[in-house]
């Protein structure tokens, strides 16, 4: 039996009074694991989150979360979800422990279990000592962690994270992304909504891109990054001899902006092209810094997509 997808949308449409089409016949199935949700600013991803949470109803289409149709029991669906909003949403005069425990009770945990789990998840996110301090004095990093903790406290099947690295310095970003990466190992699927494609590449095994409410592309990160038909090679910039050598082997080469080379592999096929490049580099005694059949980043994939439209 196929594993249940994290969520599945079928012709999901949402039009707000006033005419804005936030989602336009969105159809996508996302497997368990972590998926990056990327798109232009605008109603798309927020609306999708609200639809997944059952807070609003679609004008057309349907959506299932962890195998459960949201329309049938929106409240029940919410008890299996965790949500980490982007904006500041923490009351300053409560301690992290009290807030997370109370929210845990409101997710359906019995009081004692809520206290225990609040303590556990705050420990998990690295707020072990600070959890008895009022949130007022927390840094941005601590606030983000508290927000993540309240999303995890009731052991959700799926968490919705809206820009979890916003406002964090590079170290904080790394730590937050590391935490998010661990969630799949705990059996928690993740939808990571973000503008930062680099974060998605680091953490998500699946990507969904939306623009103007429509699906632009969706697929496993690895697959999206694959670039059949080309081989990219970086020998540190000393390209002339290499270009000559490759051209002599009947390969089409172009020099890219970052001083790496792009070799067309349609003719010889991927494997043989890789070997040809390797051999040419070896012959010339050049350093092989990088070799790949993939895009260097999701950013590149996205821009190419955007450029094609």
């Amino acid at each position: 039996m196929a594993p249940v997808p994290a969520f599945a949308a079928d012709s999901l449409t949402k039009v707000f009074p006033g005419g804005t089409t936030a989602l336009d016949r969105l159809t996508v199935t996302v497997p368990q694991g972590s998926v990056g949700l990327v798109g232009a600013n605008g109603a798309g991803k927020t609306t999708l989150f609200r639809l997944l949470l059952g807070l609003i109803r679609p004008n057309a289409g349907r959506v299932e979360v962890c195998g459960r149709p949201v329309a049938e029991d929106p409240i029940g669906v919410r008890s299996r979800l965790g949500f980490m909003p982007e904006h500041d949403c923490l009351p300053p005069d409560q301690t992290a422990q009290d807030l997370v425990a109370t929210l845990g009770e409101m997710s359906g945990l019995p009081p004692r279990a809520a206290r225990q789990r609040a303590s556990d998840v705050l420990d998990l996110v690295g707020l072990d000592e600070a959890r008895f301090r009022p949130i007022e004095g927390f840094s941005t990093g601590m606030r983000q962690r508290t927000k993540l903790a309240q999303a995890l406290v009731a052991d959700p099947e799926l968490v919705l994270l809206d820009e979890p690295t916003a406002g964090l310095d590079p170290i904080g970003r790394q730590e937050m992304l590391a935490l998010v990466s661990r969630l799949a190992g705990f059996g928690i699927s993740v939808v990571l909504a973000t503008h930062l494609l680099d974060d998605v590449q680091a953490v998500c095994d699946h990507v969904v891109m939306i623009n103007a409410g429509q699906l632009v592309l969706a697929g496993p990160t690895d697959e999206l990054l694959e670039r059949p038909g080309t081989v990219r090679v970086d020998v540190g910039g000393a390209n002339d001899a290499l270009v000559q050598a490759l051209t002599a082997r009947q390969l089409r080469v172009s020099v890219l902006e970052d001083a790496s080379l792009e070799v067309d592999s349609d003719g010889l096929g991927s494997d043989d092209t890789l070997n040809a490049v390797r051999d040419a580099v070896a012959d010339l005694g050049l350093p092989l810094h990088a070799l790949s059949t993939r895009h260097s980043s999701l950013d590149e994939v996205f821009l190419r997509q955007a450029g094609e439209r």
Partner: protein, 324 residues
């Protein structure tokens, strides 16, 4: 356009070898110390910025905001000097007009339209060209929405409005704090292109950001602050190389894992090889030597190299090593 320093070109005869100091520096910081009561925000900082795009990095509390404010004359040094185009930005009005700061969190008055806001800033700085505001808005891609109220803008659009307002005075020095905040991927790409273009024009563009992947694409030179002091400066790969005691790692994907691993281990330059499926992680203190040896070894073994990827090449990993 006001008189700019000559277009950026490396001066072979320059005696500047310290990467903390830029060629043709426009903003010079000398032994700068700033403190707020008992808290020392900057401690004897000496560095300079020149034409092109420079990244200003550091963890929270490292002193980046303080430095940006000191450079644009909003704050005075407690000790030390700040000079922009040779003059003191706090005292000299003429140099103030060549400076623009786009801070991260500053609110924009929501009732104004983008055009009104930029025009207002232009008038405030006595910008002669009446079309400057419109040109500025066009540069940041807000022409279509220029007559809408800023209050209704998304975060990314507000940021771009602030950048347009900064550009309208045709500044020589542009200091930007998290300018890409809230921008979606397409807007980010546009802004990155814009900033690089401004840098190529010869302006001194200083960008502070926590999203290191992007600073890497944006800036050719970095200044890294830690706890109010200069921790590192220059090209991030060169900085990484300067941390010679930490080994560099390279990922190699090949079907002939064991054979290649064995051969690599015979190299003196290689300190360790980790095997995981078809992936090898090769650590060494002499990355270049390994890079030269790798294709040769692979060829002699008939080992196809599916992927070779340096794991420590990014600004992100340099930063991580630096603050560890």
């Amino acid at each position: 356009m006001s008189a700019l320093p000559p277009p950026h070109a490396p001066d072979p005869a320059s005696t500047v070898t310290d990467p903390a100091f830029a060629h043709d520096a426009t903003v010079e910081v000398g032994d700068l110390s700033v403190w707020f009561g008992p808290k020392v925000a900057l401690s004897e900082l000496s560095c300079s910025f020149g034409p092109g795009v420079t990244g200003l990095l550091g963890p929270n509390g490292a002193g980046k905001t303080t430095l940006m404010r000191a450079m644009t004359g909003l704050l005075g040094p407690n000790t030390g000097t700040v000079r922009v185009l040779g003059r003191d930005p706090r005292a000299d009005r003429s140099v103030q007009r060549t400076l623009a700061l786009v801070p991260e969190d500053e609110a924009v008055p929501p009732g104004l339209t983008a055009r009104q806001l930029v025009r207002y800033v232009a008038r405030l700085h006595a910008v002669a060209d009446t079309a400057a505001a419109d040109a500025s808005l066009a540069t940041v891609g807000l022409s279509d929405v220029a007559d809408r109220r800023v209050g209704g803008f998304s975060k990314g659009m507000r940021q771009r409005t602030k950048v347009a307002a900064a550009l309208v005075t045709d500044p020589t020095v542009l200091v930007l704090d998290e300018p890409l905040n809230g921008a979606d991927p397409v807007q980010r790409a546009h802004l990155i292109t814009l900033f690089r273009h401004l840098g190529n024009e010869g302006r001194t563009v200083i960008v502070s950001s926590h999203v290191l992947h992007e600073v890497e694409r944006l800036a050719e030179r970095q200044i890294v602050l830690l706890r109010g002091r200069l921790a590192a400066a220059g090209d991030h790969r060169a900085i990484r190389d300067a941390m010679a005691d930490r080994p560099r790692r390279v990922l190699v994907r090949t079907p002939s894992t064991r054979a290649l691993a064995g051969a690599l281990l015979e190299l003196e330059a290689v300190s360790s090889v980790a095997v995981d499926g078809t992936e090898l992680t090769v650590s060494s203190n002499r990355a270049r030597d390994v890079a030269v040896a790798l294709p040769r070894l692979a060829r002699s073994l008939g080992a196809r190299l599916d992927e070779v990827r340096p794991l420590d090449d990014s600004l992100e990993s340099m930063f991580r090593e630096l603050v560890r």
